[in-house]
């Protein structure tokens, strides 16, 4: 099941081209590659709602947006910012921006996809501001991180696993358990903020590394190091909090 979903999610059809026209119309500086990002949302909608009702393609009155898409946009924002107030503000900013230029909506994609695209732009804006305030460091800093500064949690000085990854008992079965998803969510939440933001952009929203680095203004090396650390931490967190305990859970 999740194999199929992941394929569907990674599927990027060239359907987002109309957004370039929209972006120009709105005067919002969508980076051109964002149109590629937007394609990511189409499969999500398809996965949840295989045949959108025809009226979804007609522009609806802006007053109805909050009721129709508010919760969805809120959930999307919450995935990235993990803060309810911030997520609410992002929804508000998104709808205000949409209201300003809703005539640019050409009805070729669903309204929700269009609004999600604006929201994603707002989220990236905010992350970029954050990253500018606290510089991640230049290539030298990345090279330093590349020297595995702070990796001793995971590896010995000779580059061996400090704790070898154990064999996981039937991961496919774990995904059928609702609790597993809560654990994974908590593990993501416990990552260092920048690692978490990068991981969510990369693995949940399916952005490419090139897009992320361009949008955040960080080097590929730096992003790679942070994603590496995020993956090591998440793997360990899942092993400690789920797969290490599977046996007790099943008997209990």
């Amino acid at each position: 099941m999740e194999a199929i979903l992941s394929i569907v999610v990674r599927w990027s059809p060239p359907l987002a081209i109309p957004y370039n026209g929209f972006a120009i119309f709105c005067g919002i500086l969508f980076p051109r590659h964002l149109s590629h990002n937007l394609a990511v949302f189409l499969p999500t909608r398809n996965a949840m709602n295989p045949s959108p009702p025809p009226d979804e393609r007609q522009p609806s009155a802006p007053e109805t947006w909050l009721d129709a898409y508010g919760d969805y946009l809120y959930r999307y924002a919450l995935l990235q910012v993990r803060n309810e107030t911030l997520a609410e503000d992002l929804v508000q900013e998104t709808l205000l921006a949409a209201l300003k230029c809703h005539e640019g909506f050409n009805g070729r994609a669903s309204e929700r996809t269009w609004l999600t695209g604006i929201l994603k732009h707002k989220i990236l804006d905010q992350l970029r501001r954050q990253y500018r305030e606290v510089p991640l460091g230049d290539e030298a800093g990345a090279a330093c991180a590349e020297e595995d500064f702070g990796m001793d949690d995971f590896f010995t000085a000779r580059g061996q696993w400090a704790a070898k990854p154990l064999s996981w008992n039937d991961p496919a079965k774990a995904t059928e358990n609702a609790l597993f998803w809560e654990v994974l969510n908590l593990c993501i939440e416990r990552l260092a903020p920048k690692q978490r933001q990068l991981f969510v952009l990369r693995e949940l929203h399916g952005s490419s590394n090139e897009e992320i680095c361009k949008d955040m203004g960080i080097s590929m090396t730096n992003a790679g190091v942070m994603l590496y650390r995020a993956r090591l931490s998440l793997r360990q967190c899942l092993e400690l909090n789920w797969f290490g305990q599977t046996r007790e859970k099943e008997t209990g």
């Binding site: 099941m1 992941s6 929804v91 300003k100 590896f155 580059g159 996981w168 998803w181 590394n209």
Partner: protein, 95 residues
């Protein structure tokens, strides 16, 4: 010869960029001999699938909703900006 740390780093990078032939060969050689890294490779693939599924689940999670207060605030902001006319959000006279 790669050690486990270098191997795990390459495995992570392989999810973000195509590896060179040399990198792929040395990776495969290490994985043949090292069960721990082989498990790590499988678990990374699992993590990627799980993360993609998690997004879909989170977006469908009915328990997560804008609360009434936030909804009203946003509704008000939208109405105010509508009254001020398009393209002038934030520039209208404040009461």
């Amino acid at each position: 010869m790669l050690n486990c740390q270098e191997t795990s780093r390459l495995l992570s990078q392989s999810q973000d960029r195509p590896l060179t032939i040399k990198e792929r060969l040395s990776l495969r050689l290490h994985l043949l001999m090292c069960d721990a890294c082989d498990r790590f490779a499988q678990q990374l693939r699992f993590l990627r699938q799980a993360a993609a599924t998690l997004e879909i689940q989170a977006l469908m999670d009915d328990r997560l909703r804008l609360d009434e207060r936030a909804r009203n605030r946003i509704q008000r902001a939208l109405r105010d900006s509508g009254l001020r006319g398009e393209g002038h959000v934030g520039e209208g006279p404040e009461r």
